[in-house]
Amino acid sequence: MASLLAVADLGALLRWSGLVRGPAPQSTAIVCPDALVAEVIEYLRVRHDDRVGPMLSDLAGVEMAVERFYPSGDMSATLTDVAARAPTDLDVTLCSPVALAIKLGLPLVTTSNELAALAHAHVAEVTILGR
């Protein structure tokens, strides 16, 4: 059954916002760590070759689609714990949705098998979006 509210990773967020094709989360609403905003901007730089107009337009669409960007500073201890358990080369910022799901006790929706594995033992419900 779809959750009312879930935490999205970068892949789920971009599908939710319509910027990447593929099945979107089935939740009613999603929340994300605010650290993902910079990751969205980084992705948009690549996607739009640093053209600021399209980047801002897409960014606005993302911001209008997310229920709340949760302050990453409020979950720093949880993120530290997640980072220490993660494979050594896994980027900590992109692991932040796992920490937020743990912190808030919410389901995690992701397009990454690695983040799903990292969340598995600590998040009650993890959904990996198919292609």
Partner: protein, 74 residues
């Protein structure tokens, strides 16, 4: 109401200001039908899953190079 008042205090604003901010935020969010329409609208230009997965995999593992070049503390 007591719970709302607690949240307002926690965020350092009056209850009326907190409710106003809440309503502003709700008004700026896309409704589920608007979001669905937006996905349809963007479908033609959206990145493919293959394109994004290649980007995401590289980004997820960017710590690899940084680790190689960083001396361990202590």
């Amino acid at each position: 109401m007591a719970r709302l008042a607690e949240q307002a205090v926690a965020e350092g604003v009056t209850l009326s200001e907190w409710v106003r901010q809440l309503l502003d935020r709700a008004a700026s969010l896309l409704s589920p039908s608007e979001l669905a329409a937006r996905r349809v609208e963007l479908a033609a230009t959206a990145a493919t899953t293959d394109e994004f997965e290649a980007y995401y995999a590289a980004r997820l593992h960017r710590g690899r190079d940084a680790r190689r070049s960083t001396r361990r503390a202590g």
